[in-house]
C-alpha cells in the first residue's frame, strides 16, 4: 500500500535539497543573463547577453582562460607525478611511520587555506615565483596532491594481488605487468585523481589570490576583480563561463568512473 503523506514528505525534502544546492547557481545565472532586476521582482525584467559582451570588452577573457587552463593542466601533471609513486608506496609496501606520512601529505588540506596561502606567498616573494604559471601550479599541487593520493591509495589497495600474480606467472616481467595489468586496472582511479587535481587548481581562489600577478590572472580571481569593480552581472557572466568546464568534468567523471570507485576500493571495476 502506498503511504501518501510519506511520499509527499519525501518529495518535498528532495525538492528542498535540490533547491538548497542549486539556488546560488540559479541566482548567478539570472544575474548573468538578466537585466533590470531590481526590488522585489522574482525574475529579471529583461533577458540579455550584454554582460558577456561587457566581460569580453573589459577583461582579457581568452588570456584568463589560457592562464587558468595552463595552470590547471600543469598542476594535474605534477600532482600525478608526485602522487602516483607516493600512493603506490603507501598502498603496497609496509612503510615505517605510515600514519605520519599520510598526515604530512594531507596537512595542506587540513589547515585553513588562507594560513597555508600566507606561508606560500611569503616564500614565493623571496624566490620570485609569484606571477608565474609554474609557481602557481606548484602551489596548487599542494592542494591537489592530497586528494590525488587519497584516491590513488584506495585504488592501489583495491588492486587484486592475485591478478598481479596471474600476470607474472603468464610471463609478464615487472614493466610488462605494470603496462598490461596494473595500469589498466587502476585507470579509473588515475582518471579520477587527474580530474580532482585539475578541479582543485581550476576552482582555487584563496591561494591564487595571494600569489597571482598581472600576467597570471585566473578565472576565479578575475571574477573577484570584476566584482570589486562593482559589476555584479559581469562577475556573474564570468562565473558562468567558469562553470562550464566544471560541469563538463562532472558529467565526464560520472560517465567514465563509477562514483563508488572514488569512495572505496576498485575491486571488480
Amino acid at each position: 500500500m502506498r503511504n501518501l503523506p510519506w511520499v509527499l514528505a519525501r518529495a518535498v525534502l528532495v525538492a528542498g535539497f535540490v533547491l538548497f544546492i542549486s539556488l546560488p547557481l540559479v541566482m548567478i545565472l539570472l544575474e548573468a543573463f538578466g537585466a533590470n532586476w531590481f526590488g522585489m521582482r522574482m525574475l529579471p525584467a529583461e533577458w540579455t547577453l550584454r554582460w558577456f559582451g561587457w566581460a569580453a570588452r573589459t577583461v582579457d577573457l581568452v588570456g584568463v582562460l589560457i592562464n587558468t587552463a595552463e595552470i590547471a593542466l600543469l598542476t594535474t601533471g605534477l600532482a600525478l607525478v608526485v602522487s602516483l609513486p607516493a600512493a603506490w608506496a603507501i598502498a603496497r609496501y609496509r612503510l615505517p611511520l605510515k600514519p605520519i606520512l599520510i598526515g604530512v601529505i594531507l596537512f595542506p588540506r587540513m589547515i585553513p587555506e588562507i594560513t597555508f596561502a600566507l606561508g606560500v606567498a611569503r616564500i614565493f616573494y623571496d624566490v620570485h615565483l609569484t606571477n608565474t604559471v609554474i609557481g602557481i601550479a606548484l602551489a596548487h599541487v599542494m592542494l591537489a596532491a592530497p586528494f590525488a593520493v587519497v584516491v590513488l591509495v584506495s585504488t592501489f589497495e583495491g588492486l587484486d594481488s592475485r591478478l598481479l600474480e596471474a600476470g607474472t606467472v603468464m610471463g609478464c616481467g615487472p614493466l610488462g605487468l605494470f603496462r598490461r595489468v596494473t595500469l589498466p586496472l587502476a585507470l579509473p582511479g588515475i582518471v579520477a585523481a587527474a580530474l580532482f587535481s585539475f578541479l582543485a587548481s581550476y576552482n582555487d581562489f584563496v591561494l591564487t589570490l595571494m600569489v597571482y600577478g598581472a600576467d597570471t590572472v585566473t578565472l576565479p580571481v578575475q571574477t573577484y576583480l570584476s566584482l570589486g569593480n562593482g559589476y555584479l552581472s559581469v562577475a556573474g557572466a564570468i562565473s558562468t563561463i567558469l562553470l562550464v568546464p566544471s560541469l563538463l568534468f562532472l558529467v565526464a567523471m560520472l560517465r567514465m568512473v563509477r562514483p563508488e570507485n572514488l569512495l572505496g576500493g576498485l575491486k571488480g571495476a
Binding site: E165, V169, M170, G176, V181, P184, L185, A269
Partner: protein, 358 residues
C-alpha cells in the same frame, strides 16, 4: 630415458619462525598428474608457488626438465596456472583473457587467433569469446581460466583448488573437464586440493601433506587401501574409527577391552582401526561371528539408494553404517548387531603429531 618434468629436492620454506615447508622432495614424470592433498595450512599452495616461482624457497632445488630453475623469476618459467579465485582480468573479454599470455609472448596475430579459438573450443566456450568475465557464471569463468592456462602450452600446468569456488553441482562437471583437457594435451599437472575425492579421481599419484611435510606418497589406489596413519585415513573419508591397543597379533578395543580380529599383524601399541560405513554389516540375529558389536540405532537417514544408520555401541563408541536399500529398515532405538568383517578393517598407528623440533 628423458629427464622427469619436475623434480623438487629438499625444499624448505620458513615465514619467520614458522616452517611452512620442510624437506619436500618430489619427482613428477612427463605427462603425469600429481595432486598435493592436505588440510588448509599444510603448505600445499606455498609448494605450488615454489614451482611457479612466485615464492623462493629458503633451501632446496627446483628442477624442470633437468635444469635448475630455483633462481629463475616466475615470468621466465613458462608455467600455467589455474586459480581458485579464477583471477581473470576484468577489463578484458574472454578472448582477450585467453590471448593475454600469447600477447606477452608476442606471437603472430593469426597464430594467436588460431590458438585462442582452439583453447576456447577445448573448454566449449567459443560462443562466449566476446563476453566479459563478470557476465559469466563461476563454472564458465573457471573454464576460461583453464583455457588461458593451457593456450601457451606451459611446461607444467598448476591448479590451485580450482573447484572450491564452484557450486557443488558444477564441481564434477569441471573436474571431468580438467581431466579430459589434461589427458588430451598429455600435459604434466600439479593439482592442489583439500578434497580427497578430487585427488583420488584425477591423479596418477598423490602426495598427502600435513604441516609442511609429505606424510604419504603413492597412487590413489595404494593410498586409499593402505593409509599410513590415522590422519590420512580420516582425511580419506573413513567413516568409522575405533581406538585400539595392539598386542600379540590381536587388537583390543580400548573402550571395553573386547577383542577385535584384524586382517594382518599390526605393530604393537596404540593404534586406530578404520572401516568404511558401507563395509559394516547389520544383523538382527544369527550365530555369533567375529567382530560382532551389540549396538542401538540412534539415528537413520534415507539416502535414496541406501540407508545411513548412526549406531551406538554399549561401550559408548559411535558407528556409521550405510546399507543398500532392499532389506528391512531398522527404526530408532532398535537393538542390532554391527559386524565389522576383519578383511575390511585397516589398523594404522596413530600419527605422532607435529615434530617437536624445527
Amino acid at each position: 630415458m628423458s629427464e622427469p618434468r619436475l623434480v623438487l629436492q629438499h625444499i624448505d620454506k620458513h615465514y619467520g619462525r614458522l616452517a611452512v615447508l620442510s624437506d619436500i622432495s618430489l619427482t613428477v614424470p612427463r605427462g603425469h598428474f600429481l595432486s598435493l592433498l592436505g588440510p588448509s595450512g599444510c603448505g600445499k599452495t606455498t609448494l605450488l608457488r615454489v614451482i611457479t616461482g612466485t615464492v623462493t624457497p629458503d633451501a632446496g632445488r627446483v628442477m624442470v626438465n633437468g635444469t635448475d630453475v630455483t633462481r629463475v623469476p616466475a615470468y621466465r618459467r613458462n608455467m600455467g596456472m589455474v586459480f581458485q579465485s579464477f583471477a581473470l582480468f576484468p577489463h578484458l573479454t574472454v578472448a582477450d583473457n585467453v590471448a593475454f599470455p600469447l600477447r606477452v609472448r608476442a606471437l603472430a596475430r593469426e597464430e594467436q587467433q588460431k590458438r585462442v579459438i582452439e583453447a576456447l573450443r577445448m573448454v566449449h566456450l567459443e560462443a562466449l569469446a566476446e563476453r566479459y568475465p563478470r557476465e559469466l557464471s563461476g563454472g564458465q569463468q573457471q573454464r576460461v581460466g583453464l583455457a588461458r592456462a593451457i593456450v601457451y602450452r606451459p611446461t607444467i600446468l598448476l591448479l590451485d583448488e580450482p573447484l572450491s569456488n564452484l557450486d557443488a553441482s558444477l564441481r564434477e562437471e569441471m573436474r571431468l573437464e580438467i581431466s579430459q583437457v589434461t589427458r588430451a594435451l598429455e600435459i604434466t599437472a600439479v593439482y592442489v586440493t583439500h578434497d580427497q575425492r578430487e585427488a583420488l579421481a584425477l591423479s596418477d599419484s598423490i602426495a598427502v601433506m600435513k604441516l609442511g611435510r609429505i606424510v604419504q606418497f603413492g597412487s590413489p589406489e595404494a593410498i586409499y587401501a593402505a593409509p599410513v596413519n590415522d590422519f590420512i585415513a580420516r582425511f580419506l573419508g573413513y567413516a568409522n574409527e575405533l581406538p585400539v591397543v595392539v598386542g600379540d597379533g590381536a587388537a583390543r578395543i580400548e573402550a571395553d577391552g573386547s577383542t577385535l580380529h584384524i586382517p594382518a599383524p599390526a605393530p604393537n601399541g596404540p593404534a586406530t582401526a578404520f572401516i568404511h560405513a558401507n563395509a559394516v554389516v547389520l544383523e538382527t540375529s544369527g550365530a555369533p561371528a567375529p567382530n560382532r558389536l551389540a549396538c542401538t540405532v540412534t539415528d537413520l537417514a534415507f539416502m535414496g539408494d541406501s540407508v545411513e544408520y548412526v549406531l551406538r555401541h554399549k561401550a559408548g563408541l559411535q558407528l556409521k553404517a550405510r546399507v543398500p536399500v532392499g532389506g528391512a529398515i531398522h527404526g530408532r532405538g532398535a537393538a542390532i548387531w554391527a559386524v565389522l568383517p576383519p578383511d575390511k578393517l585397516i589398523v594404522v598407528p596413530r600419527d605422532a603429531g607435529p615434530p617437536s623440533a624445527g
